[in-house]
Symmetry: D2
Subunit: 336 residues, 4 copies
């Protein structure tokens, strides 16, 4: 049994606590929160967990194997590094850090300590996204052409984080799960329509060496909620609609066909549309966070390698930074 200390019992912490509790491989040993008033809520739902407020003292407890960080982003790096130095495994909420420089230090600390670093990019543990990954890995999409996502709604404006770091990070993590290639150029345009508030609407474009392209649109000021990703390939295409409770994944046997011979002179080759059946595969309905906690345990036990590893999470932070840089330059493309 792996003893886990959860740090931060605010908005997301209780979900982590519940899943640590429910996982047969882990025990919610300790909950740490700076605010003593959290104790009552912790005790109500997790009477067997110890409650503490002193993070440093807690790290000294040898019975704790791993630390889960659900604290503000700016604290991720220092707390994670301290935990690694105390010999703990670490699961940290997304994004790994607010800068790639700090994120890289966390990755280094993980390696120096020889301990597991996992980042809570929950969408990578969803049954639906994993089913799409299986399909991609089967090769049946053909040559991968593009990823095009839309994640918009009437959202809460956050005081310190833009819509990019709040929402686009999810699309970037799914993209990273599905497509194993690094972009070379990132462009991003954004707008802050409300004075004194962060950017509330972004369109991000990434170009890849293979010709693959990725576009991500996020918006906090949309009257409707959309969670939609198109993945285009030469043989098949995927529509992933995360708001559809049942028909989340549609795989279209659609694409283009090139004529076999090219005897004709100066005219470019013609491409023909091809439309076939549509297939909506079943996928696991298991809670993504539960799958993630199980995976964290398996990594600690050495049975699996981290899916949402520190390296992967660092890559996403670099992409977000490049997008911010592009916005500062009015949308100019930034090389990675």
């Amino acid at each position: 049994m792996i003893n886990i200390a959860l740090v931060g019992y605010g908005y997301w912490g209780p979900n982590l606590a519940r899943n640590i509790d429910a996982c047969p491989l882990t025990t919610l040993h300790t909950v740490c929160d700076l605010n003593p008033s959290a104790e009552a809520r912790v005790k109500n739902f997790h009477p067997n967990a110890r409650f503490v407020t002193d993070f440093a003292a807690m790290l000294a407890d040898d019975s704790i194997d791993a630390v889960v960080l659900a604290t503000p982003v700016s604290s991720h790096a220092p707390l994670a590094i301290a935990a690694f130095q105390a010999g703990k495994h670490v699961l940290v909420e997304k994004p790994l850090s607010e800068s790639s420089e700090a994120a890289a230090k966390v990755v280094d600390a993980s390696k120096a300590a020889g301990k597991v670093l996992l980042v809570d990019h929950t969408f990578c543990y969803q049954g639906a996204t994993r089913k799409v990954k299986e399909f991609i890995d089967s090769g049946r999409l053909g040559k991968l052409f593009y990823f095009d996502s839309e994640r918009v709604n009437l959202g809460l404006f956050q005081s310190d984080v833009s819509v990019l770091w709040d929402l686009a990070v999810h699309d970037l993590s799914i993209l990273s799960l599905w497509h194993d290639e690094l972009p070379t150029t990132i462009s991003c345009t954004g707008a802050a329509h409300l004075e004194g508030h962060p950017v509330n609407m972004c369109h991000m474009n990434m170009k890849y060496p293979s010709g693959f392209t990725a576009d991500i649109s996020v918006n906090w000021l949309s009257p409707v909620k959309l969670r939609r990703i198109l993945l285009g390939g030469s043989n098949n295409m995927v529509l992933f609609d995360d708001l559809d409770p049942v028909e989340k994944i549609k795989i279209y046997d659609r694409g283009v066909t090139m004529p076999e011979s090219e005897s004709s002179g100066n005219a470019g080759p013609l491409a023909y549309r091809r439309t076939g059946d549509v297939w909506m595969p079943q996928f696991s309905l298991a809670e993504a966070l539960q799958e993630e906690i199980k995976h964290f345990a398996a990594c600690i036990e050495g049975r699996e390698a981290p899916t949402t590893s520190g390296e992967m999470a660092l890559t996403l932070v670099r992409q977000l930074e490049a997008a911010d840089e592009s916005m500062r330059q009015g949308g100019a493309p930034v090389q990675l």
Copy 2:
């Protein structure tokens, strides 16, 4: 009765012919096509129309009041200029021309001749887009924040025109109808996923002096067809879904509210989400092309001023050129 000569009886020409025939103010006097084999089809559907193949000779016929051009884009400018010089009014298919230089010459020729120039941006004559315009003009949207459109499907690849000139031109025309301001910067990223073919996927961003922004996404390689525009304002927001046969327009009483006083210190002001009723107004189901032909007749008779005028169409050609220029520069913003 206005006598009209239609030039070009290919894909779009028959639709124009039918609507010229049906309009009580116009007569389909002549159809001109370089290909003599078109005559049989013309005679079958329009037995009273004369068929000719010689455009120049036709222009000499004084009984013809106006010329409608449904010919390839590259021929628009020379044919329209010749028609103006012969003292005809001109309705020309979109886009007005393949270059802003040529388009400007057509506008000049129209002015020199004192004849009407109308461009066939059909979406501007749709009951639904005009109903939205009414709502915008009423001021109830509040401050206009953004226009965000998506026009994707599994489309025919065209040999000489990119998806930008094929599809985005429609969004630009609707945007022009709805929002009376010129952009100062245009960025556009695009990809040609099939070798030897034009760009099949674009994301275009436009920035305006008022803070308004416009984003347009077009794609010929999407497994699903989408025709969707979001228009965001501070008081209300609009969803225009052109594929919904009935519920094309939804007006959301949604937005953000700013707290009245700003006594707090360094923290930015908070914005609150506000959600209210949704309203789907009725709109005219009249065929857009018929409305356009009626409007053309009314402009010739001096009763109305062109909605999709040469100046407006020239503006759109300039925006498409700037987007092409941005794509050539890898997505860098281009000043207008």
Copy 3:
């Protein structure tokens, strides 16, 4: 080439004329309408067809091989019988007649003359309904449980025909195509919500010897338009949504599973839900009416046997009569 005379050039006649014209196996030889004013419209669209107003005289013309009747329902039987007596093949609009007695006489006349009788149940020639039939015939649905359809909209009230004969006839024809069994009992409840008008809303139930059941709901006073059929089987189930332009057919690998052994005592066996993939097959987009005309020609040439034969159409008239009888009895079941 089969020479066809179309009788009746009102609402539906022009569609038939266009498809007879377009079919390479048939010629629109003559159009007959009692109203001489129809001639101008006929000549405009079908300059090569002869126009007549005298049905009896027309039948004497030996160059006419077949007659297509698009006249009011009450005239179907007498006109069809006269045509058979004159040695013509007959395609008659649905329903075959307003009474099963008259319909039976038409079937008899067809047999006596040895000529083809086809009834215009157009839905039986749609690519989508035929694709579902293929799937049913493959046996993969398992045991067929039920047919449940809904055909509602804000419709035109007709002065002489109830919603049952106007709309339910379509569902009955699709049901007849898909399921080859005759019902033994029919119940029908209906309501005429507007005084002085026919029944505008009906729910019809049919029971079959095999345990199969069919339910049909039709309504002229619905604010929304629905065209939806569920077909339930033990292994798979079908959703046919005729309003979806693309995803008309969904085949669900869903059903119930019975446990293998039944060792338990008095408790009934448990059934388990089973959910698997969903499949949306491609289907032919050919116009149903064109397929029907081709089929009519093939029947005349002896290459095919009528799908929507007189016998099949007579069966549907009997079902509609039984439903009317049940409504007169307040919804009581009527034996067939």
Copy 4:
């Protein structure tokens, strides 16, 4: 503070417990379950509630003001009557009883004791159904024509209850909330497609003195889940789609218009379709069960009269019994 004893901690009980806990007017004083193993679950979530297994002994506790019954249907009547005799108020899960005879006795016991009887028809406390009721009460629907509902899905087969008592009871309760008139005739057809199992598919029709009609379709063997009610009136119509997370209620300014004068002779009057705007009002998103518990408390305190009273619930049981009787008679109409 009202002290409540919850009886039955199975499937639905925990939801009631949570809402009793959350309501500021009530305290979850005691949980009673025959099965001692329920105690651990109760203690985990409600450490302050007492757990008992002896119902009769519990009734003797004077500190308990009210009893909430979440036990099998067959136990509702005896337990409720005992509770009334002990001077408690009672909230009982739906349906009130499995027979109208027993249900009537519960109503009588409530009256004899002078205590509140409320039945847990939760849908009557939903923000959306209450918003529709407001609209109906405003009179803007005009004359009410019909209620037509569909509640289908791939459901769990229950061993002792048919789909009618499981699902149709919800539609009947909403209908009762919206339309204050009693039906005079009920017809119901049903089918048990799986041998040894209860009826899994029903269509129920009810006729009312005013000409109003109600149709309810329920099905446990549908591949898709539908929760849809149409409510037709002469001036406006309502679509209530309970599965739509946002656009649950659509009010259509649609109907029929009768011509003013009727000078014409034998022809029936014509009705014209009328289509106007559609309106989707905001409604309360409060949890229905919480509203119900608050209402129960308000009834106990004498501030409100029961919405889902014993009399109302008894009416629904009578309608279900009549539907069962109609099914036994093959669908014949049954007088109420």
